[in-house]
């Protein structure tokens, strides 16, 4: 599957209609996953639908919705889809689908979309609200057996590539990923939104967004969810059972750097929803320009040059070097004397920063001088993270002693009990779907 750039719009309101998708393509988006289609009659949506977590004046740090799949008739969507695909043959255009968990339902919708010219289909097995209560979306995505089953039905009834979109509302993301692979999926998309209550209106005493004073759990996305998604992408990309499967990374991507991080952890492309809903389609210029400038400065000519490049460095905690040591160093020439490093370390970490009031100085205000007590510093990063002017660096120390992982550490209880505990900790094996039918 080809697209002019790795940035696609995720299946959501930005891809709801011909008019949006064409505006997006004109702006330069590489592809789009059409807003999820279902069986007729179409669903009915409520008013209001969205809520947001704001942080320190920053809007939409997290975004939440209680919207359902498309609320327009299937034939209207399909007619528009076809026209867009015909007008924009170089863009990747994917159809997202969600129907009840019955072979007949999937078979019949796949038939209806056969001649749309879609580059692929994406199975929405992730929507955590509204549809899951009807036995669709996350309700099936949380059961690996269903994931495998539906994927297999789809592979049977269409020759189009099948993306399976995973729900993060599950303890171990590898299980549905393995199931999708077993069912024959060509690619995985993740993540869909996370189950959430975005807030409580304290005047109405109702969850937000409220519908006449009542609210319900919704799906969480936007910048706040990126770390969760990055981990899930890495888990799947590292898992011996799913390693090498194409991944479309989704969740909180707002700029080229976010996208590059997803690619470095093994996604082949990315999908974006919230950032577009916040700023409009114009951000595509910033995304492609940022990524290509970064690639130029790094000497990467193709995405493949760095896709998955960070994966070998994602290891199990047990394999980290316990002899690696850094200590914080404060650049006194840049320090603005806010004291945040000091109070963070003193109150909540290792009491490794000293403070003294400046002795002299022309100003009447005596500044406090903060210095790291190197022998106490455990190299936790907290001071450097809270420093508002980034004048603290973590300096690597020459310890002179070699690599020492936990498995060989003298404090590891395995030496006490004689056995190798770490070897006993194995992932619960996934046994495949139960007997069919």
């Amino acid at each position: 599957m080809k697209s002019p750039n790795p940035f696609w719009l995720a299946s959501a309101p930005p891809t709801d209609k011909q008019i949006n998708v064409e505006r997006a393509f004109r702006a330069g988006w590489g592809g789009a996953v059409w807003k999820t289609l279902g069986e007729d009659p179409p669903v009915v949506n409520v008013c209001s639908r969205y809520g947001a977590a704001e942080w320190n004046g920053q809007k939409l740090m997290g975004f939440n919705n209680i919207e359902l799949i498309t609320d327009r008739p299937l034939d209207v969507n399909l007619a528009e889809f076809k026209e867009v695909k015909r007008a924009w043959p170089d863009r990747a255009l994917i159809l997202s689908l969600m129907v009840p968990c019955q072979e007949e339902s999937w078979k019949s919708i796949l038939k209806k979309i056969e001649d749309t010219g879609a580059d692929g289909i994406e199975l929405n097995l992730g929507c955590p609200h509204g549809m899951s209560e009807r036995g669709m979306g996350a309700a099936v995505g949380q059961v690996p057996e269903y994931v495998e089953q539906i994927t297999r039905w789809c592979k049977n009834y269409t020759r189009m590539p099948v993306f399976v979109k995973l729900t993060p509302n599950i303890t171990d993301i590898r299980l549905p990923a393995r199931a999708a692979k077993k069912g024959g999926a060509d690619a995985l998309s993740l993540i869909n939104t996370i189950n959430s209550i975005i807030g409580v209106d304290l005047d109405r005493m109702s969850p937000t967004p409220h519908v006449g004073g009542k609210g319900t759990h919704g799906g969480y996305c936007g910048p706040a969810v990126k770390p969760i998604s990055l981990n899930m992408v890495a888990e799947i990309a590292r898992d011996p059972e799913t390693r090498g499967m194409p991944i479309s990374g989704i969740g909180g991507i707002s700029d080229w750097r976010d996208a590059a991080e997803f690619l470095a952890l093994g996604s082949q492309g990315v999908q974006i929803c919230t950032a577009a809903m916040h700023y409009g389609f114009k951000i595509i210029g910033d995304l492609t320009n940022g990524l290509s400038n970064w690639m130029d400065t790094q000497g990467y000519r193709h995405l493949e040059d760095f896709v998955g490049k960070a994966l070998p460095n994602v290891v199990h905690w047990h394999d980290l070097d316990l002899n690696f040591k850094t200590v914080a160093k404060i650049d006194q020439t840049q320090c603005i004397h806010c004291g945040l490093c000091y109070v963070a370390c003193e109150d909540t970490s290792h009491q490794s920063i000293s403070v003294r009031r400046e002795e002299s100085g022309s100003s009447k205000i005596r500044r406090s001088i903060y210095e790291v007590k190197e022998s106490e510093c455990v190299g936790c990063n907290l001071c450097a993270l809270v420093c508002p002017v980034e004048c603290i660096s973590m300096v690597q120390q020459e310890t002179g002693i070699g690599y020492l992982p936990w498995s060989r550490h003298p404090q590891n209880p395995k030496f006490k009990y004689g056995g190798n505990l770490t070897e006993k900790v194995k992932d619960a094996p996934y046994k495949g779907p139960k007997s069919q039918g």
């Binding site: 603005i336 806010c338 004291g339 945040l340 205000i365 005596r366 508002p388």
Partner: protein, 466 residues
């Protein structure tokens, strides 16, 4: 009426811009801005409360340290106080707008419903001790409020028909409005326990001796009501004004158009009063306004910011000129003759003027007889240094003084408020010595850049401050 001519020089923040500005505060540990505030407001805490929508809490932080937090937010020379210390000023040359944020928090608070503004602080039950406070300016009001909170029955004697002192009669109309000042005063007095005696002057209507016998302690917060003389020929002719008296007229008149404003004015002085009158004259329509200061510009006590403000308003600042005489003609003042004080010393020059304003400082105005017994130093009431055993206490035990009438501060509203607060504690300390450990001072006091005043003073209360 005033508002239309004297527009707000620094427009207020709204709830959105306040949030954005508040997010710039780093919430410093041992924040230098607190050190720089004479009343030691816990600035990072009140700013954080603006961020998280707890505006009443923000007002509490401000007003517990400074009952005139609303006025101070407008009139403090922040550029030499909190703003100059802000780490953002140090780091990027642009301080957090502490003054505007403080104004936002206090404005929001005072605009709130009465059930929110009343009972912000609760008075301790009366314990029977009585204090006389003489003078209802910032120092007197601040002390009265704190004393009332500490359970005293306070009687406030004010010579004029209104309290407020220079808040009411002196502060520039482009910084404060009388309604705002009045609202703040009403709120301060609303705490209760303060018996107001207006039109009652120490020296004429009531004697120091009677106050001493009737009350457990007396606080003199008289300000500086007198004016200095230039002592040059022509000073007494019509058209020569005392700047602070003229400002008082501006602040009190109901018919601003009736104020006599000439075409060209010369202001003599180099402090903030000179700046204020000059800008106010410009607002009132004077064509040319020139401030003449006797020393170099760096020696002026007006801050750089104030000088810039004046220049932006079209005021000319002329330095190194000492007035020699004021020339007049049949219709009044015609010009002022100056002598140069710089390297061309002795050289003379004349400036044409229809009006001359003297802004060369104020003096203690109270009958010298009354004050002789308590002792003066440099024309101000002499008190025990804060570091000493009897802070703010005069030579006569039980009589305290603070604000502009003593020589310890910088003659700012905010220092007067701090003096009032500290005097309340000093009185409390002297009357309840053995129980001083029980005094609740609110938040603990960090040392202050006026360390001379508060740090050592509070050392005496170290048990309470923990």
């Amino acid at each position: 009426m005033q508002d239309s001519i004297f527009c707000d020089f620094k427009p207020p923040l709204n709830s959105q811009t306040a949030k954005i500005e508040a997010s710039r505060c780093h919430y410093c540990y041992d924040a230098p801005c607190i050190q720089a505030c004479p009343t030691e407001i816990d600035i990072p805490s009140f700013i954080r409360k603006i961020s998280n929508g707890n505006l009443r809490g923000a007002a509490q932080d401000i007003l517990s340290a400074n009952v005139m937090g609303g006025t101070c937010a407008r009139v403090c020379p922040v550029e030499v106080l909190c703003h100059s210390a802000c780490v953002r000023e140090v780091g990027e040359g642009k301080s957090v707008e502490i003054g505007l944020l403080q104004r936002f928090a206090t404005d929001q608070f005072f605009e709130g419903p009465p059930e929110s503004t009343q009972n912000l602080f609760e008075r301790a039950p009366l314990h029977g001790k009585k204090v006389a406070v003489v003078g209802g300016g910032p120092a007197g009001l601040s002390a009265s409020h704190r004393l009332a909170l500490l359970g005293y029955a306070v009687t406030l004697f004010e010579a004029r028909s209104k309290v407020g002192g220079l808040n009411e009669y002196g502060l520039a109309p482009y910084k404060v409005t009388s309604e705002g000042v009045q609202q703040e005063i009403d709120w301060i007095l609303g705490v209760g326990g303060i018996d107001l005696k207006l039109n009652c002057a120490l020296g004429t209507d009531v004697s120091l001796d009677s106050l001493r016998t009737e009350f457990d302690a007396v606080f003199l917060a008289l300000g500086l009501g007198g004016v200095k003389k230039l002592g040059i020929p022509g000073e007494d002719q019509p058209g020569v004004f005392e700047a602070s008296r003229f400002i008082e007229k501006i602040r009190q008149t109901t018919r601003i158009a009736d104020l006599p404003v000439g075409r060209s004015a010369v202001v003599i002085g180099g402090g903030s009063t000179a700046i204020d009158i000059a800008i106010e004259l410009k607002c009132l329509g004077a064509e040319s306004v020139t401030i003449v200061y006797r020393g170099s510009e760096e020696k002026m006590s007006a801050t750089l910011h104030e000088r810039e403000l004046a220049r932006t308003a079209g005021v000319v600042i002329c330095t190194s000129g000492r007035p020699v005489r004021i020339l007049g003609n049949a219709s009044g003042v015609a010009a002022v003759e100056f002598e140069r004080t710089d390297r061309n010393a002795g050289e003379r020059f004349e400036l044409v003027a229809n009006q001359v304003f003297k802004a060369i400082g104020q003096t203690l105005a109270v009958d010298a007889e009354v004050l002789r017994s308590i002792g003066l130093k440099g024309g101000r009431i002499s008190v025990g240094n804060p570091g000493e055993i009897k802070p703010f206490e005069t030579a006569i035990p039980g009589i305290f003084a603070g604000g502009d009438c003593i020589g310890l501060g910088e003659d700012l509203t905010v220092t007067a408020v701090q003096h009032g607060k500290l005097v309340a504690y000093a009185i409390h300390q002297s009357l309840f010595k053995e129980k001083s450990g029980d005094i609740n001072y609110g938040r603990s006091h960090l040392s202050n850049r006026r360390g001379e005043i508060t740090q050592s003073f509070l050392a005496g209360f170290s048990t309470a401050n923990g």
